[in-house]
């Protein structure tokens, strides 16, 4: 979860208005360096092979990684979603295998078997940032290249015009549990975010994506664990399944968690003060580390990701709305080979 969420700034009840008034000030907090490649077309990563990335991410390093704070085989893909769908206002891409929903709960319950068919598309993202080991949550999404992970924008780029990319050792571990990698590790070869996140740093656009290489076994991501569907332009008033790997207490980051069938609560009032589509609030008691965790709607379709929360209200989770910019991001990611 974003630092402006559970972390320092967003721990205060109203401090986000500070962000609304001086978002650029916030953008400069990290001392970020403008990167020539910060144009909204993503950046390629010269990652070593999965074997080498896997050697870097030992169980001890994965356990030490801190939440990023500021911040089935895909064989049923529809007709060329990456090219045609991105231009549409609303669209729903089917998952590789729709699943039945769980019973409702706003408590972040432990998932019994994160390697099960119902849970293995969700995982932990590890990377290096600002000299340390960092982590987020992410979701494998059905795409033409079978290799797309969706997460929060602040898990790939620090955001805003002075933002910088998190290129170091960026890898996705689906089905992670207590240092185990049941489906191996998938290093990123390309990361990107929405144009709005890259140019303004507005949390209304805090969505990111990566295209990953094959794992140590030579499998593509969606071949190994499948991919959730994805939809954009949907009504905000949905019932969501919120997935993620929260790290901050009372959680430990070692188990996958799920808030089942949690309803849309409304928009953050502060979301109105920034550009972009109004973000969404749901009833789910996530903590740091859950950033980027997928919000799925019926039939296992991704329709949001965890972005931030407030320190004085641990029971509410906020995420960016999936609109046109997310559609474009999905389109770009699906074309990467």
């Amino acid at each position: 979860m974003n630092a402006r969420g559970r972390g320092i700034h967003r721990a205060l009840a109203i401090s986000a208005l500070l962000l609304a008034t001086a978002i650029a000030l916030v953008s400069s907090l990290g001392g970020g360096v403008a990167v020539a490649g910060a144009a909204p077309s993503g950046v390629a990563i010269e990652s070593p092979a999965a074997q080498q990335v896997g050697q870097f991410w030992t169980a001890a390093r994965m356990k030490r990684a801190k939440p990023m704070e500021i911040t089935q085989p895909g064989r049923t893909v529809g007709p060329s979603p990456a090219s045609a769908a991105a231009a549409e206002v609303t669209r729903r891409i089917s998952p590789t295998a729709p699943r039945a929903g769980a019973s409702a709960s706003s408590t972040f319950e432990a998932v019994g078997d994160p390697a099960s068919e119902a849970a293995r598309q969700n995982g932990v993202i590890f990377f290096t940032a600002e000299g340390g080991l960092a982590r987020c949550s992410g979701t494998s999404v059905n795409a033409p290249n079978f290799s797309v992970v969706f997460t929060a924008g602040h898990c790939v780029n620090s955001g805003g015009p002075y933002g910088h990319w998190y290129r170091g050792q960026w890898a996705f571990v689906p089905g992670y549990r207590y240092g185990q990698r049941p489906f191996g590790i998938f290093p990123a070869k390309w990361i990107d975010s929405t144009r709005g996140w890259l140019t303004t740093g507005s949390e209304n656009f805090d969505v990111g994506a990566a295209v990953v290489m094959r794992n140590e076994r030579g499998q593509r991501l969606a071949d190994a664990v499948g991919g959730a569907g994805i939809a954009w332009g949907q009504p905000a008033d949905q019932i969501f399944e919120v997935h993620g790997y929260p790290v901050a207490p009372p959680f430990d980051g070692e188990t996958q968690r799920l808030c089942a069938r949690t309803p849309f609560l409304g928009h953050d009032a502060e979301s109105f003060l920034s550009t972009g589509p109004l973000n969404l609030a749901v009833d789910c008691d996530v903590t740091g580390g859950a950033s980027g965790g997928g919000w799925t709607i019926e039939d296992d379709v991704l329709n949001g990701v965890t972005d931030y929360g407030y320190g004085d209200d641990a029971a509410t989770d906020f995420g960016a709305y999936f609109g046109k910019e997310v559609a474009r991001l999905y389109g770009r990611a699906g074309k990467v080979r």
Partner: protein, 324 residues
């Protein structure tokens, strides 16, 4: 985060929030300058400007018109980006409710729906007159913005909650404000600094007032109250926000009064505050030896559209700060 730091940030955030609302500054612009409400005391004004390194609104353009309404209320309608606001204020802007919705804002038009409360659909008819904001020395003598004066024509209908205000207008004088984006440099005790290249932390260290801060948040609603000592006066600020579907309501009020209205004991275990209007009643804070605290009393504020808004109760997290 330490309690003292938390309190400082809360106080500053409240102050900045007060600055944010009239401007709805664009999140796109680095070093966003902000206007200061007339009632902000000079001390806080200086602190906030030093903190932000800014001084007036900036954005590509901002249409705005103003109307007077019954009951002493002033109504301002403005737009920036895709956001349209209706601000209902009284007491020279010291108590206001800002209604915010997504809409259409162009150099010639402002249009939005506020649901059951009303709607605005106005076109700008320029008079040809131009006014420039006061030239600023730290901006090399340049103005921060120019205003194209004229009249907004069309339809504006707005009815506040429970009918506390009702406005229906077809014409209103107004302006389109254009940012001139001059190059401004902040001249502080450490020498010149670019407003866009500031770090976050050190400016907060300069504020160490005696203070009481209380806030709560639940879902998409929140409220905050703060009493901050500035020399011989106490500045009182309160802020509440609420989201209802496609409409957000942000309310704020501030005033100042004599220091005797806030008492905090040396051990920071007891406090009592009785601010002047638009506040009403007294808030009492007590910290027990076991660490439990209470924040009780009849303290409330009279926001436009939300009279007697409670500012005490078990939902609030309350902190005290010692002045030094």
């Amino acid at each position: 985060m330490s309690g003292a730091t938390r309190t400082r940030r809360l106080l500053l955030a409240i102050g900045l929030a007060l600055l944010a609302l009239p401007a709805l500054a664009s999140a796109d612009a680095p070093g966003v300058p902000l206007p200061l409400p007339a009632g902000v005391p000079p001390q806080l004004r200086a602190e906030l400007r030093a903190e932000t390194g800014t001084s007036a609104p900036r954005g590509p353009f901002m249409p705005k018109f103003h109307l007077h309404a019954q009951g002493g209320y002033g109504v301002s309608v403005s737009g920036i980006g895709s956001t349209v606001t209706v601000e209902v204020a009284r007491d020279h802007g010291r108590a206001a409710t800002v209604y915010i919705a997504r809409g259409t804002v162009t150099p010639g038009r402002v249009q939005a729906s506020f649901g059951d409360l009303g709607r605005v659909a106005m076109r700008f008819l320029p008079s040809g007159q131009i006014s420039l904001s006061k030239p600023l020395r730290h901006c090399n003598g340049a103005s921060l913005y120019k205003s194209r004066l004229g009249v907004f024509a069309g339809s504006f209908q707005f009815k506040g909650e429970n009918g506390y205000i009702s406005v229906h207008a077809h014409r209103a004088k107004g302006a389109i404000r254009d940012s001139l984006a001059p190059h401004c440099v902040r001249q502080g005790p450490r020498g010149p600094a670019q407003s866009v290249a500031r770090s976050s932390g050190d400016g907060f260290q300069s504020i160490e007032p005696e203070s009481l801060a209380a806030s709560w948040r639940h879902g998409v609603s929140s409220a905050s109250f703060a009493a901050i000592g500035f020399r011989k006066d106490i500045l009182y600020l309160t802020f509440a926000e609420q989201s209802e579907g496609a409409l957000a309501k942000i309310r704020f009020a501030f005033t100042s009064g004599p220091a005797k209205a806030l008492s905090i004991n040396d051990a920071l275990t007891q406090a009592r505050v009785t601010p002047p209007a638009p506040f009403k009643g007294t808030g009492t804070y007590r910290a027990a030896p076991d660490g439990t605290t209470t924040w009780t009393g009849a303290l409330s504020v009279n926001f436009p559209g939300a009279g007697h808004f409670p500012l005490t109760g078990p939902l609030f997290e309350t902190e005290l700060g010692a002045g030094f």
